[in-house]
Amino acid sequence: MSGTVHKTGILATIRRSVAWRALATIKGGVAGGFLLLVVLGAIFAPVLTPYDYDIQALTNAFQPPSLAHPMGTDEFGRDVLTRILYGARTSLSVSVVAISISLVFGMTLGAAAGYFGGRFDRMVMVVVDLTWSFPEILVALMLVAIIGPGVTGTLVAICVAYLAQFTRLTRSQVMALKTETYVEAARGLGASHAFILFRHLLPNCLGPVLVAGMLATGDAIILEATLGFFGLGAQPPTPSWGGMMSSGSGLLFKGPWIILFPGLCIALTVVAINLFGDVLLAKLDIRDRLRVV
């Protein structure tokens, strides 16, 4: 489906971008729209809600959802919607930052291992496979136990837990791509290893790896929530979705909305991320690109 676009400039560039074309589909539009809403909600939380996330009002505790409190109030009388908006800041930023760092390290390690092969490759893969042989949550729990609970611990834990996945994926992509004739052709032109890696191999495996990163962000939100649920994530009074579910779990019958809404938020966000990742993967196919004249 290659058309011809004559326009240049910012608008045309945006329209050609993968993200835009993913948003233009129904599935991608709904999922991307929801994610955008959550991100904007997190950013503009102080403007959107009149309440504070940490001021307790015990007389106001256990209010069911109403116009004043659309998602009710918790056991300390704090507005649940407010805490969800602020909690999105922790949950989303920790997951996204951790996965980004993990991606950078994983891609570098995987690309180098796949491209150079040999002893270096075997050394990297032994370490990477070692972390992969444990479930992510176990690796994360062990690391948090070493570093200590809190945002930093969660960040490092998520980083290491997903490193193996990105390293392996990049490595296998690079190993497949490096046998392509255009890599040999580049060597015939006198290109250096760095040139081949950064101009040919990494851009060509970027798509699948970025989508894997996107999908892993969804998992990372759950992992962050799980650590929060165990009380190992962001420490009170800083709200996080997992932490909110944790405190709501004991109050399931007294105030079911306290656990319901953050749980719903986690579920919807993860589903939206997965859906958007799917569409992105389809749109990243090079044949879907428009011709620039």
């Binding site: 255009y182 040999e184 052709a185 015939g188 032109l189 290109a191 250096s192 060509n204 690109r289 004249v293």
Partner: protein
């Protein structure tokens, strides 16, 4: 084109050997095969040397050895009299500018993410240079592609158009020698003719020297000034004149099996009998002996050396076909 005996050939391959090892593991020793065995070749400036042989005879390996893309197990590669066999990485860059290659498969030899402009600028970018202004357009003109193609991606082009890009890229440095590794093998016959015509024109206008790898003996006889016939990694015949009568039984069989359009001139095609010996276990004698109609006892015992016949032609056969 006849080369004076004392002239330094622009590209010289001297006793090249390349073995590959496959399989093998922690406890098992891998099997090794000789893809190219003791091949020597002198390419004079302006020559079009055709290397012809069946698939698997080592001609593509020879092209990569000549390009210094893979290291030889033994032997030397000389460019303009200078030994470049020990050069690697950045030290090969001066050679790269003078020796370029067009690859067989125009589909995988272009990065799918590169527009044609990127493809044609890559030779300069790879060496950290800036292309002279207008070079992309000049290259597109040279290979007969419309300038509006500069923004197109490879998947938007046909096979023939892609191969033109491959040729343009090889010309970007203004090289002296171009190795053509079956540049027409994956194209339709009508497109093949266009590409060959383009290569002929570039040979004439740019004073290029070609090392042309092909399995199509008819094409090689039409296009080349000198022919080297390979069989199982070795040169079996060198023909100084492409129209000469073949002396080696293998070359004769190859020519006998090429298709003649005129039915009245068609001779009975005698298919080659017998199996190609496994490259993992070459017989001691002539590698062609098991399939040869003119085989003698000594062919199976010892290997015939490449010896001069008439002029600069050579043949490796104890019992060659009479001229």
């Amino acid at each position: 084109m006849q080369m004076p005996a004392d002239a330094v050939p622009v590209l010289e391959l001297d006793g090249l050997v390349r073995t590959f090892t496959t399989g093998g593991g922690l406890l098992r020793k891998g099997r090794s095969m000789t893809a190219v065995s003791d091949v020597s070749l002198r390419v004079a400036a302006g020559d079009i040397v055709g290397v012809v042989g069946e698939s698997g005879c080592g001609k593509s390996t020879l092209a990569r050895l000549a390009m210094r893309l893979i290291d030889p197990s033994a032997g030397r590669v000389l460019f303009e009299g200078r030994d470049v066999t020990q050069d690697h990485g950045p030290r090969l860059r001066p050679l790269r500018k003078k020796l370029q290659m067009v690859f067989q498969d125009p589909y995988s030899s272009l990065d799918p993410r590169f527009t044609l402009r990127d493809c044609l600028l890559e030779p300069f970018a790879a060496l950290g240079e800036t292309a002279p202004p207008g070079r992309v357009e000049a290259l597109l003109d040279q290979v007969g592609l419309d300038r509006s193609f500069a923004g197109a991606y490879p998947h938007q082009l046909s096979g023939g158009q892609r191969q033109r890009v491959g040729i343009a890229r090889a010309l970007a440095y203004r090289p002296e020698v171009v190795v053509l590794d079956e540049p027409t093998a994956s194209l339709d016959v009508s497109i093949q003719a266009q590409i060959i015509a383009l290569l002929q024109e570039l040979h004439r206008t740019s004073g290029l020297t070609y090392l042309f790898i092909s399995h199509d003996l008819g094409l090689v006889r039409y296009f080349c000034t000198r022919i080297v016939v390979m069989y199982l990694g070795s040169v079996v015949e060198e023909m100084a004149d492409p129209d000469a009568v073949p002396r080696h039984p293998y070359t004769a069989a190859l020519m006998g099996s090429s298709f003649v359009p005129d039915p009245t001139e068609r001779a009975q095609i005698v298919p080659l009998e017998g199996e190609i010996p496994s490259p993992f276990a070459l017989p001691p004698g002539c590698p062609f002996a098991p399939r040869c109609a003119r085989v003698q006892d000594r062919c199976r015992a010892s290997r015939p050396a490449l010896t001069q016949t008439t002029g600069a032609s050579k043949v490796a056969c104890f019992n060659p076909v009479e001229a």
